[in-house]
Symmetry: C2
Subunit: 293 residues, 2 copies
């Protein structure tokens, strides 16, 4: 059942991405190869899956055309990974078990491929099959949640600046809320908006997204400490090597697990308004908190 | 008269940028400092000025709220400059007479500042004071013209790959049309769309933008050869040092000037439909072709 949800989300997203991204032979070929290399690198399509299930919760069935929104969200996520991995930032050679963009295509193309994925995401969002009002609202939400003030880029900046320091809890929470939870929240909210959610529903979806997004990052940090590189498909132990700000570093594994559990509870409670229709989203949340890689 | 047009465009754009960009004290301060460093580095605000005059041509007076569109266009232009200047790309230390972003803030923040300016541009575009339909149409136009297929990033990629080769005319035209003329065209077209231009008017504005955008790049390349760094406010002679693909390198100065003149003629003719209302845009075009820095 959950397996079906995951698989459907992945398939819808992958086929939309394949349709929307320029082919590898389209001039200039190098950038299109680089965009596809990172987009089709075995990502779990977590944000798209949350988006679809949020849309399905509101509409009663998977809304027609939501897969293009999913593709745009995954383009934005992938752009952030390509840039995060650059030598000037996290300097990572491996991502999802494959060499990172700059290792394969060089730094110049990696920078431009990230830029291009961001650009194309907005082109796709502007052309979604829903009202123009819903589209501009989604674009504002997504841009804000990936921006500097309390969005993804802001989280990345504070994360970089917190390396080799021992940040306080408020800094750590800012990093996680902004760097990871913000785009997850935008995915859940935009799925609801695409399906025509009203304001009370959007508010509940937002609370759900924020809680599950933060839980997701805490679990990620726990796995970085407890799992091997082979299990994770990326370099394990990187956080402590770089003296990154993480929950396990600040509170230890046990307290971090507890915190993730509390956030899961908040996430579930946010969905009470929707009754049993929200069961799949709750299952997804539980899967994200209990995962092993 | 032309001086007034230029000054009004600069003032409207600068004050919108100052209002829209987070302040230098807003957390995380480093990225906001970096964004403002490059945005307020003495740019000529050429794209915004073309956008305003295009909107004024359609609406009869400067359309209320167009300055936010101008700010978004300038954010996109500035993001592309920050990334172009990076060591992995053009490796330029000087831009508009000031040290480039990565020289002041380091490469990581420079990459993220470019990313953030792109992100914020779309947030601003989604919130413009015009119909949601016009906003999504502008976003699609601007994203496509700054993307990979025949937009700004595509031009940058082919430009990088053409270094140290002797590209043919079709490659050179692709580079110039995509790297420079595309965003100039989007500026002219989006100004018209903001003011409510109908399809025939948009088509004419597009032809004007394409011709004047290409002429602008040819003149830029001529100035790189004929002017000093002090006159240009950036490192002169960079193109030939890097064996960049340029019109002067392929055809010599005289033929390049001729080509720019022909394009100016095409640009002027595109505006015939509008009669004397188009005089200011024509004046602007003439100024861009005849400029000395």
């Amino acid at each position: 059942m959950l397996q079906d949800t995951l698989q459907r989300g992945q398939q819808l997203t992958d086929s939309a991405l394949d349709r929307l991204l320029p082919s590898e032979t389209q001039r200039p070929a190098s950038i299109h190869k680089a965009m596809r290399h990172s987009v089709f690198a075995g990502g779990k399509r977590l944000r798209p899956i949350l988006c679809i299930e949020s849309g399905r919760l509101i509409a009663g069935s998977v809304p027609v055309g939501i897969e293009n929104l999913c593709a745009a969200l995954e383009m934005l996520h992938t752009y952030s990974l390509i840039h995060d991995d650059l030598p000037a930032l996290d300097n990572d050679d491996l991502r999802r078990g494959r060499p990172t963009s700059h290792k394969v295509f060089g730094e110049a193309i990696a920078i431009l491929a990230g830029d291009a994925l961001q650009t194309q995401a907005y082109e796709v969002l502007a052309g979604l099959q829903c009202s123009a009002e819903a589209r501009v609202r989604m674009i504002e939400e997504i841009a804000r949640r990936t921006g500097t003030v309390d969005g993804m880029i802001g989280g990345q900046v504070v994360d970089l600046e917190a390396e080799h320091t021992r940040p306080d809890l408020s800094t750590l929470e800012y990093i996680h809320r902004s760097k990871t939870a913000a785009l997850i929240t935008a995915s859940v909210v935009s799925g609801g908006l695409f399906a025509g959610a009203d304001e009370p529903a959007v508010t509940k979806l937002r609370s759900f997204g924020e809680a599950i997004g933060l839980a997701f990052q805490i679990v990620d940090d726990i796995l970085d400490v407890t799992q091997s590189s082979a299990q994770l498909g990326k370099t394990a132990g990187k956080d402590s090597a770089a003296e990154k700000a993480t929950y396990p570093a600040l509170f230890g594994i046990e307290k971090s697990r507890q915190k993730a559990g509390e956030l899961f509870k908040i996430a579930s409670e946010s969905l009470q308004l929707f009754g049993p229709r929200a069961d799949t989203l709750k299952q997804l949340a539980s899967f994200l908190v209990d995962r092993k890689h």
